[in-house]
């Protein structure tokens, strides 16, 4: 007789595996299904982690190239790309081993294979060898994530035209690279290969790179990329990409102008598509909308007992969002009374150099919501800690509401911005006012002092400028 699970989770990304751990901690009998060889999903194998490993190697190279300024003299460093990749793989493998350990420790049943909902309370798993196994469960969480999508006129052949999956395993540093799409993924790869010595161009359809960020942040980052000799084409529509044998030729239109650029390879980084096909939705009432599965604030789909979380639902496609949604779903299953997620408080981070990070409303969004908006900008050039490492680059922008002085958004470009953001995440969650933020003692000398100064700037009296 088969056992009945409290919850079966399909997909082991940062949504699925984190949800499984929390479920087990809450005493739920939990199974996790994954069709990949190893657990961890996009984030660990093809996303967050491998990219940050490449970015660390790239940033290190950059710092070494400037080391003489700080009295550390080194002959020209040489990039051993195979070793860069090897380190990346080591980090990923360590991560996957870590998840395996956590599954065992929490007594989670892990089943390798393709999972499909097979009816009410039933999930069928098909192994690589075609063997089938049926699971009975009280609840199901769909955590199947997403895959790269591409433009209709840009065929990804993984030779000349790569996507984020294939470029991660590339065996060389291309002489030149065209990145289509200047979201987080595109900007991160542009940053890596620029540091590594490639000639990099970025082609973005919208008027600014990192289009979801505050306009001042996007513009600052464009300035930084231009300083790094990255060739930017914004407001540019890709017309065609042509394999020339020795490389690729990309034709775009910018307004009425036609531009042609060439490179060794092209990276297509134009977004991701949810994975909701072939997972048995036909046995449920769930209707996917352009692939996305809709849920309520408790992550419930239209089908009783079936939840969906992470990249497969139409919320921000980020690992920490997937994890938060997963925890919420299992807490709901466990009969807790979790608070819905406030998506306005979703941190966003891009690990290019310098880094970009933000939480809360942009100036534009705050105005759209009807707030009487105040803003304050403070540059890293006036932060002493930044000048110690010659990194007085970038700025912080604080967006606040005039009426109650509430901080609505904190936006940054600069060294270690992704780490500095945590303060803002807590601050916004606790409904901080700019006055309170400005009065919070920050350790000196730190980069984090910029957040305090940004708040003071909003009030009209920053100290160090």
């Amino acid at each position: 007789m088969a056992e009945t699970f409290d919850v079966v989770i399909i997909g082991s990304g940062p949504g699925g595996y984190v949800g499984a751990i929390r479920a087990a901690q809450l005493g739920l009998k939990t199974a996790l299904i994954e069709k990949d060889k190893r657990l961890g999903g996009t984030c660990l194998h093809r996303g967050c982690i491998p990219t940050k490993s490449l970015l660390w190697s790239a940033a290190l190279l950059h710092h070494i190239q400037e080391a003489a300024d700080f009295g550390i003299e080194v002959p020209k460093p040489v990039v051993n790309w195979a070793k860069v990749q090897e380190h990346k793989q080591k980090v990923v493998t360590k991560g996957a081993n870590g998840i395996d350990y956590l599954m065992k420790k929490n007594k989670i049943t892990v089943i390798k294979g393709h999972g499909r909902i097979a009816g009410k309370g039933k999930v069928e798993v098909t192994g690589d060898d075609g063997s089938k196994q049926q699971l009975d469960t009280k609840n199901i969480i769909i955590a199947t994530g997403s895959v790269p999508k591409s433009l209709p006129n840009v065929k990804v052949d993984h030779e000349r035209v790569l996507n984020s999956d294939s470029i991660l395993g590339i065996d060389r540093i291309p002489k030149s690279l065209i990145v289509i799409g200047a979201g987080a993924v595109g900007c991160e790869f542009a940053s890596v290969f620029n540091h590594m010595g490639s000639q990099v161009s970025i082609v973005e359809y919208l008027p600014n790179i990192l289009p979801i960020e505050d306009a001042d942040i996007s513009k600052e980052m464009e300035k930084q990329f231009k300083k790094r000799k990255i060739d930017l084409h914004t407001g540019a529509k890709v017309e065609s990409v042509e394999n020339t044998g020795s490389g690729v030729k990309l034709t775009m239109t910018v307004g009425s102008e036609t531009r042609t650029i060439e490179a060794e390879i092209v990276l297509s980084a134009v977004g991701r598509a949810p994975v909701s096909e072939d997972i048995g939705l036909q046995h449920t009432s769930i209707k996917a909308d352009r692939g996305f599965i809709k849920t309520d604030t408790m992550m419930r789909t239209t089908e009783p007992g079936v939840y969906a979380i992470g990249d497969v639902i139409p919320t921000a496609m980020l690992a920490h969002v997937a994890s938060a949604e997963a925890v919420l779903a299992v807490e709901h299953i466990a009969g807790k009374n979790p608070a819905p997620i406030n998506y306005d408080l979703t941190p966003s981070a891009t690990y290019c150099y310098p880094e970009v990070a933000s939480v809360g409303l942009t100036e534009k969004k705050a105005k759209e919501r009807g707030y009487d908006v105040k803003t304050g900008i403070f540059p890293f050039s006036a932060v002493t800690k930044a000048s110690i490492s010659n990194e007085g680059i970038g700025l912080v922008k604080v967006v606040s509401d005039k009426k109650y002085d509430e901080v609505l958004g904190v936006h940054m470009v600069g060294p270690h911005a992704t780490e500095l953001l945590a303060e803002a995440c807590v601050a916004l969650r606790l409904e901080i006012t700019t006055e309170e933020l400005a009065h919070t003692m920050h350790a000196h000398p730190t980069l984090s002092e910029i957040v305090k100064e940004g708040a003071e700037a909003t009030l009209g009296h920053p100290i160090h400028i």
């Binding site: 819905p340 406030n342 109650y404 509430e406 606790l430 409904e431 006012t433 006055e435 309170e436 009065h439």
Partner: protein
């Protein structure tokens, strides 16, 4: 703004004081906040609780 403050006037509190208020059945909007911009801080709730128990003890 938090979901709990959708009513007309907004009470600035802290996670701690919200919790204390929940546990002791206090209405934070009835407590004068001593924190910046009138935020209700621990000291205020503690004082309110002590005031309440002082009254009870009389």
């Amino acid at each position: 703004a938090s979901s709990s403050s959708s009513s007309s006037s907004k009470v600035l509190a802290t996670p701690l004081t919200r919790r204390m208020a929940r546990e002791h059945g206090l209405d934070l909007s009835q407590i004068a906040g001593s924190g910046p911009q009138g935020r209700v801080m621990k000291a205020d709730v503690t004082a309110a609780l002590e005031g309440a128990s002082a009254t009870r003890n009389e």
